[in-house]
Symmetry: C2
Subunit: 307 residues, 2 copies
């Protein structure tokens, strides 16, 4: 089992309005993930707002997580930045703090060429000895990795995994076959886009990089295990409890929804980083309803256990 396997749960990084990390609340969120025994924790991913935080706050969040986790769950840290040298600094900071792996997105302002992204990844992967996952997220970076570029990057030392967007038309098997055929055997392929990831695991993906898992780890681990076991019926049954949340993720973007959910659950009073706005009161009510639906899954599990 590599580091990039099973459910990688991505929590929000609660901060004040100036972007200073609330380390106590972060530890409470991490504690839920430890108790649910997620396979890894993805700190400072897109959900964790890495792009909006300073280097010093990112280091503080990482150090807090390493100390709190104390090796109980592997920790992957997002180190993307607009500048290559900044991403290298962030990667070294993460290793010094004690992270187990890195996640790197080709953050861009000026649109990047394939060669620029390749050289950027070589430079950052070479800055530490940690395994690195390629964060292929066109929705935020506006860069789409070609298969040829992923093949080239998968040969680079320390580059061990890729976090893919969902393939069109749920064509996971074709997408996975293409990636497997062009990358080393031990290269881990995973997906993000929570509503499609159980299908990805069922098709044989290694990793579910999950927003929902960062806040609802118990339920998401149930879905992960059913999908990894190849139990289609049970995965579909569990997935049905997530449906209202998936609809909201698609409508508002998952970041806005999980902030609202964390507020509703009284786990955090943090808001997203402006200019990102909190959901309206009416939309927060819809999130509350979706949480209630998801919590019914716990009842069915409890009932099953009792009988």
């Amino acid at each position: 089992m590599t580091l990039f396997n099973g459910l990688s749960a991505f929590p929000i990084t609660p901060t004040d309005t100036q972007g200073r990390v609330d380390t106590d609340t972060l530890c409470q969120l991490l504690d839920r993930l430890v108790k649910a025994e997620v396979n890894s924790i993805g700190l400072l991913g897109s959900t964790g707002g890495y792009a909006y935080l300073t280097r010093s706050e990112r280091k503080r969040a990482t150090t807090t997580a390493v100390e709190f986790l104390d090796g109980r769950i592997p920790l992957i840290v997002g180190v993307g930045a607009l500048r290559t040298d900044e991403a290298q600094h962030l990667a070294r900071d993460a290793q010094e703090a004690g992270a187990d792996g890195l996640l790197l997105a080709p953050v861009s302002y000026t649109p990047l060429t394939e060669e620029e992204v390749y050289q950027n990844f070589v430079a950052v992967a070479g800055a530490t000895t940690l395994p690195l996952s390629i964060y292929n997220n066109p929705g935020t970076t506006h860069f789409t990795f070609s298969i040829a570029l992923l093949e080239r990057l998968s040969q680079v030392e320390n580059i061990a995994a890729v976090k893919m967007p969902l393939p069109g038309d749920d064509a996971f098997e074709a997408n996975l076959a293409q990636l497997r055929n062009n990358t080393p055997n031990d290269f881990a392929v995973g997906y993000s886009g929570d509503w499609g990831c159980a299908a990805g695991l069922l098709a044989g993906a290694n990793t579910w990089y999950s927003v929902v898992g960062g806040l609802f780890p118990v339920q998401t681990m149930k879905l992960t295990k059913a999908a990894q076991a190849g139990d289609v019926a049970e995965a579909q049954r569990i997935d049905s409890f997530f449906q209202p949340l998936w609809a909201l993720f698609k409508e508002f973007g998952s970041v806005r929804v999980v902030y609202a959910a964390a507020n509703i659950l009284s786990l955090s009073n943090a808001s997203p980083h402006l200019p990102i706005l909190p959901l309206s009161a009416a939309d927060q009510e819809r999130v509350a309803m979706a949480i209630k639906t998801l919590e019914k899954l716990d009842e069915t599990i409890k009932t099953a256990t009792t009988f």
Copy 2:
């Protein structure tokens, strides 16, 4: 005549590899713009690499420019940032340093909603008393302003102008009519995308926000004046000397090309900020050829003056 009128010339911000601004070289680049009497200078635009520079270096570049220009040419400063509070800090820094106007792009990581962009612009426009131009640049920000949003923003105090991308099919007249019909009479409409901007001025746009004008201000002022005078034949004649450069701008993105051009002209030895790579030696040779073609325009002008 408003601040946002005629040729707004956007120079590169030369830095070392750590992103520290080379103020001497910056002043030399600004001196060319002063001598050519451009209508305004756009410091820290996309070409000026604002997104890649720290707040302190952006302040240093602005202070340097204000002191060097000493009021000879109006100075517009780009203040875009991922966080609203950071953009507010940058706007206040620019006003304190002595800038004449601001340029604000809706820089994003998490894709933004219309309301988020609206609130962001209200917050930043309200942070100073300087006139502000809306930087509508979907190619870098991945946010496209609707006409309804521009209409709403044009009512906000201090928001005085928009920098538009080129309309499809060169439909400047329809685009301008739509914008004029939905914004106040004194709201300035300009374009960026150098190869189409003379046509924009001919169609009645107020402003050409120009990359090429930041490095070749004499030739670009000639084209600006011909277009503003409505002299189609002369504008087309001058434009023909720019054609090889336009082709390279479209192929490589204008930032990479103007860095190479500044190197070739021995005006700067700076490179773009990594991960953006300098052009290859072969492509730099093509830039050198394009510069030679543009310089032939000077000869025709000199000849015309002699006769």
